[in-house]
Amino acid sequence: MRKRLGRHRWAVFLAVIGPGLIAANADNDAGGITTCSLVGARFGYSLLWVLFLITISLAVTQEMGARMGAVTGKGFGGLIREKFGARWATFPITAMLIANLGTTNAEFAGIAASLGIFGLSKYISVPVAAVVVYLLIAKFDYRRVQKVLLISSSLYLAYVVSGVLAHPDWLHAFRSMVRPTISFRSDYLLMFVALIGTTITPWGQFFIQSYIVDKRLTAEDLAYTKSDVYVGAFFTELISFFIIVACAATIFVAGGQIGDAADAAKALQPLAGPFASTLFALGLLNASLLGAAVLPLTSAYATCETFGWEAGIDKTPKEAPIFFGLLTFFIVASALFILIPGLPLLTIIVLSQVLNGVLLPIILIFVLKVTNDSSFMGKHTNSRTFNVIAVLTIAGLILMTILLLASPVIKNLI
């Protein structure tokens, strides 16, 4: 008789926390926390309207990913390969790989920044973290570890409490959510694109779909999946909202300067007082570790699925050379990059999210093409409303990217 699995306990857990919520929660990684902190600290409540709109976009695009997974039983990489052939598939895959490499850099920057608060030099923390991440992926059952990290991501609830305790100007905050304002200053545009890029991510699109496939959800579960994805999108953006509000009510009102991670931690002072830095550092470290493992994995799996190379943690590097090569490359290259002396960590994190935002339209166009193809989706193709929202998201992003490129970005870097 074989070893029985501890499935039941996880089944109960998963009944409460579905794939949508998990994928959305993983979205609050180093890039998410940092970008939202900077958005609140530098621009107060003025970008909250963007957050409001992209919550809708996030819900819609994640639902598309979940639906593709449930209806076809295949990952996104496999679908674009089957629909467009190898040549066309290289575009979204390359875009995803570049964006993900940037985000993996951000995760290691997050590790360096969070442990820097405790006084640990990045020349120690980053190499150690690289080894830890590699071992987490290759030697342990990462899916277990992932759940632990996801549960600990409830640390972000600290922002909700801190945001309330900071006595923000609620009326102003809510008014900002529904009243668009825009500035053409390049740092504003940069944060604008970063905020979108950290919320709707190329990797998140691949991640939700493969998660649905692994969880063996099918077209029959679509109603459940849909509500789960919506709740997840709402919850993530609720956290983002409170991060921005907390930072706006503390750092923005005090002058708005964030030089390093320790400055960003001040947003938690209303709740944690002198322990604000510790709380912030732990939250950021947790989020960064989560992302530093998820991103290389998602990238390697999606690439191998698309091009038909063997993939899987249970294989040996000899059996799946490209899979393990990509994993190793992502971790080693990111860690080495962060080790460059004098690197402005928070800037790196935000720029990686900008890169995500700039590359996102490529991914979303392919999402739209597949979700409108009835030979893949059967009767579950997109509704008109969904298409409109997705097209507006893509158009908005492309427009912002053009504006950003047209403005003198370099001068006003954070």
């Binding site: 074989r2 029985r4 499935r7 039983g73 295949k74 390969r81 052939g85 692994d214 099918t218 038909g308």
Partner: protein
């Protein structure tokens, strides 16, 4: 034409040189020894024209038709026809020869007089590079590591397609080539698939084959598959399996699902499985099966052989025959060899081994493994404290579950392979 990727997208011209459209797909018809190209699909605006291959003339880099474009006789695809671009290229297929699930990078044709046949599919990285139009990368690789990525064509006879589409409709196809493989190899293959494909494959196999394949897959995958397929079919498959293997799978499912499946099963089989489910994991009780061969002590050798003939096909192992009293108490064991060499009219109690090596249901897997190793057994009876026979553990169950270090034994000790003899038991 040699490769599908070189053909797709080529322009087709009509008899006066006007372009008709581009090649969108190539249709093959199964045949012996190889499938033949029967038509090409030409994209003309939003509409497809299916043109019989025999009317198409191949020239350098283009195709031409002998007629004007408004007089095209169309080919009607048959039921067995396969659309290569739609169903094969870029899709996952099973390589029956190497037991692998691979993605098709290209399709290779071979020209014979009068027709073009399909030789096989190319799933190699070399083929991928060619398809991407960056074949030169192979040259760079050869320069860097001394050899280019290998080129390999999987013969069409070794290819099992997983899905076929006829227009927008997906067809469920019988996986004949796959089902002819050894169950262990099928299990290897389904482990490489995604969950939806796994359920499809198991659904397409006949119940007996499915019952042989499932236990060879990893426990998580077994449970997932049984959860994903229809409960009625799941119970049919589980009935076909050894009760201990069925109990293993059910033990990993939710209680509701287990009940649902047990209700669908034959009451007798379900009863056996239910009993096995009561034992803890990693104990002798959890390892054992309830299917064994036992006769009562008064039976003659000939009687036992007749009984074996009648019943044995169902039992997991028939090398040991257990001897029971009227009250189901275990009193002895004989091997198949003892039975065959004995005089036909001799009662089994006269030549049975009475000191039977046995184990209690609560004993650990490790203890069981040690007994197997020490006495070189093929099966081990599990008896409760009243000496009542509950089931047997067979050596293959132990081999699967016991970590290798236990089998390695102590250094310097001579070991023999498990065999059919019971002499060791007699000395114990």
């Amino acid at each position: 034409m040699q490769f599908l990727t070189q053909v797709l997208g080529r322009t087709v011209f009509d008899s006066i040189g006007e372009p008709v459209g581009k090649v969108r797909d190539v249709i093959i018809t199964p045949g012996e020894p190889l499938p033949v190209v029967s038509a090409i699909v030409i994209a003309r605006g939003r509409q497809d024209i299916v043109m019989p291959w025999r009317r198409v003339r191949e020239e350098v880099d283009r195709f031409s038709l002998p007629v004007r474009k408004d007089r095209i006789a169309e080919y009607t695809p048959g039921e067995d026809d396969i659309w290569l671009r739609k169903s094969v290229l870029d899709r996952q297929i099973v390589d029956i020869h190497d037991y692998k699930v691979v993605r098709v990078n290209d399709v290779r044709f071979v020209e014979t007089p009068g027709q073009v046949c399909l030789l096989g599919v190319d799933a190699s990285t070399r083929g991928l590079l060619r398809g991407l139009g960056i074949d030169w990368v192979s040259g760079v690789l050869r320069f860097l590591v001394g050899k280019p990525p290998p080129e390999r064509i999987i013969a069409w006879n070794d290819v099992e397609t997983l899905e076929q589409t006829a227009g927008p409709i997906k067809l469920k196809i019988p996986l004949e080539k796959l089902s002819r493989l050894h169950p262990s190899d099928i299990a290897d293959i389904i482990e490489q698939m995604n969950p939806a494909q796994r359920a499809d494959v198991i659904e397409s196999l006949d119940v007996e084959t499915a019952a042989d394949v499932l236990p060879e897959a990893s426990p998580e995958i077994q449970a997932e598959i049984i959860e994903d397929i229809d409960p009625e079919r799941a119970s049919d498959i589980l009935e076909e399996m050894e009760p201990d293997e069925a109990a293993d799978i059910l033990g990993d499912l939710s209680e509701e699902r287990t009940e649902e499946i047990l209700k669908e099963m034959e009451p007798e089989e379900a009863e056996d499985v239910r009993e096995l489910l009561t034992y803890e994991d990693e104990t002798a009780g959890g390892l054992m099966t309830t299917e064994y061969v036992a006769v009562s002590e008064g039976v003659t050798a000939q009687g036992a052989i007749d009984y074996l003939r009648e019943l044995a096909p169902d039992a997991e192992t028939i090398y040991y025959i257990y001897i029971l009293t009227e009250g189901e108490k275990l009193v002895g064991v004989i091997s198949l060899r003892d039975l065959i060499v004995a005089q036909p009219d001799r009662p089994v109690r006269d030549f049975m081994v009475t000191r039977v090596i046995h184990i209690h249901p609560e004993a650990s897997m490790r203890e069981a493994a040690e007994l197997f190793q020490k006495y070189n057994l093929l099966a081990l009876p599990v008896v409760d404290f009243d000496n009542e026979l509950k089931g047997i553990i067979t050596v293959d169950d132990v081999l699967e579950d016991i970590p290798a270090e236990i089998w390695r034994g102590k250094p310097g000790r001579r070991r023999t392979a498990p065999d059919q003899r019971l002499d060791h038991t007699a000395e114990a």
